[in-house]
């Protein structure tokens, strides 16, 4: 983000304010108002097409790449900084707001190079510093013990779950403030899913995490707060225990209890 803008508190909170978002003439998000607290896990849930992934991609401006897509009202602030103001450097923004995708997407390089890639882009050249940073990221992503003896082997030889944790290591290597996760476990088996969920619990001490998931159980297990979206609107946003024990809105209860979806 632009260092010349106002000096906000460094707590990595995300504030979505009266956000309308369109694909062409189609309104995909309607008046979304959401305060996402720092160093907590917030889950976005809702049926397909409800706008949850669209909102996630607004937070690191991934939607900028879609020609007809644009915010038509409102905005998003991270630590009080409007991330859509013209002076924002989008590359820097995406360094501070990392993203983990549904399908693991390691580069066709070595395990080491996958993690070191972002660090090199930031200008880190010193070998010892690179080694230390790669190890730190792999330890933090609970992958170090499994790969420390084959760091220079291809990342494509790792299992699906390991590849996804490698992608998380690649994301956290550049020390973002916020991590966006778009269905990060949908292609993983239960054991690999459990490892990623354990990782999410560990990472929230240092990062603000926002996760899109279709699994109600996963949302209830890993998140502190849950936002339920339906047809582009935020229907209910509350702490996760409240949402899954006694939601306030009937539509939320119908969705989480399997009455539609």
């Amino acid at each position: 983000m632009d260092a010349n803008s106002q000096q906000p508190p460094d707590n990595a909170s995300v504030s979505v304010q009266h956000l309308d978002f369109c694909y062409g003439s189609s309104l995909a998000l309607k008046n979304i108002e959401l305060e996402i607290p720092a160093h907590q896990v917030t889950a976005f849930i809702g049926p397909s097409g409800c706008g949850k992934s669209t909102l996630l991609r607004c937070i690191n401006r991934m939607n900028d790449e879609i020609p007809s897509a644009k915010i038509t009202r409102g905005g998003i602030q991270i630590d009080g900084v409007d991330i859509y103001q013209p002076s924002i450097d989008v590359v820097k923004l995406r360094r501070e707001v990392g993203m983990v995708f549904q399908k693991s997407n390691p580069f066709p390089r070595s395990i080491y190079e996958n993690v070191a890639y972002g660090l090199r882009l930031r200008g880190l050249r010193d070998k010892a510093s690179l080694n230390a940073a790669v190890e730190e990221a792999l330890v933090a992503s609970a992958l170090w013990d499994e790969v420390k003896d084959r760091l220079h082997e291809s990342a494509l030889g790792l299992s699906g779950g390991q590849q996804q944790r490698l992608c998380i290591a690649r994301t956290i290597a550049v020390k973002p403030k916020v991590i966006l996760m778009d269905e990060p476990c949908s292609a993983l088996d239960p054991i690999a899913t459990a490892k990623v969920e354990n990782l999410i619990w560990d990472l929230k001490n240092d990062y603000t995490i926002i996760i899109v998931t279709h699994s109600m159980q996963q949302a209830s297990r890993v998140s502190d707060n849950t936002a339920f979206f339906y047809l582009g609107e935020l229907i209910e946003y509350s702490d996760t225990a409240q949402i899954f024990r006694n939601p306030s809105v009937r539509k939320t209860e119908e969705y989480i209890s399997g009455r539609f979806g």
Binding site: F244, R245, E254, S257, G258
Partner: protein, 239 residues
């Protein structure tokens, strides 16, 4: 929730669970009613049938617990569905204990029936009448997830407690003045105790219905310390 689940098996499981609770409730109430009738009408056969039929209630308790666990394992219910499963399992536990009290009453009744008629058995009738109403309303609170009806049972049970105390006082007095009837009077004291406990169990079911309907846990609220008055100090606290 009245609308249909996307999985038909889930709806079938929930309907079956609830109907088993209602069947169990009907059997437990029937056992209680027959136990009391055996006492009041000196009917030994009725008492024997209550004792024999209790195993049906026990079987249903196991069936309901198993069905509840099965639903939780297979479907991971949440919100009001989860509350219904948990409350149904608790209802089954309370109903099983009510049926046990009916058996206790039937066993005491058998002993009383085998002896000379005891005029004091009539004293148990008003207690039973009130306990039966509390039980009926507890079941209605569960069926309709009616938190208001469930929450009101605690206050209504105080009248049953008062009537129970009065009956014990009366029977204790007669124990002193009629030592020849002491064994039967003691049986009747235990009958009164069972009826009073059935009132307590109805209150428990009412509290569970509040959780079912409103997701509020009102159990043991009487034992919680009152919040300290704003701006007060220790010296304000009465000794």
């Amino acid at each position: 929730m009245t609308s249909h689940h996307i999985l038909r098996e889930f709806d079938k499981g929930m309907v079956s669970l609830k109907s088993d609770v209602l069947l169990m409730a009907s059997l437990a109430r029937q056992n209680l009613e027959r136990a009391m009738r055996s006492l009041l009408e000196r009917d030994l056969d009725l008492a024997r049938s209550v004792i024999a039929d209790d195993s049906d209630v026990d079987d249903l308790e196991r069936k309901i617990d198993q069905a509840g666990i099965d639903i939780m394992v297979r479907f991971h219910p949440v919100a009001s569905d989860l509350r219904l499963v948990i409350t149904s399992m608790k209802m089954a536990h309370n109903l099983e204990r009510i049926s046990d009290h009916a058996v206790n009453i039937a066993k005491r009744s058998k002993k009383i029936c085998k002896s000379f008629p005891l005029d004091e058995v009539g004293l148990a009738e008003p207690l039973y009448s009130l306990a039966s109403k509390l039980l009926r309303d507890a079941l209605m609170a569960y069926t309709d997830a009616n938190a208001e009806l469930g929450e009101g049972l605690k206050v209504r049970d105080r009248e049953l407690d008062r009537m129970h105390k009065q009956m014990i006082t009366t029977l204790s007095g007669r124990l002193e003045t009629s030592p020849g009837r002491s064994e039967n009077l003691l049986h009747l004291i235990f009958v009164a105790r069972s009826i009073e406990r059935i009132g307590d169990l109805a209150v428990n079911m009412g509290e569970d219905s509040v959780y079912l309907g409103d997701a509020r846990d009102i159990r043991h609220e009487h034992s919680k310390p009152s919040p300290a008055p704003q701006g007060g100090s220790e010296s304000d606290t009465p000794a």
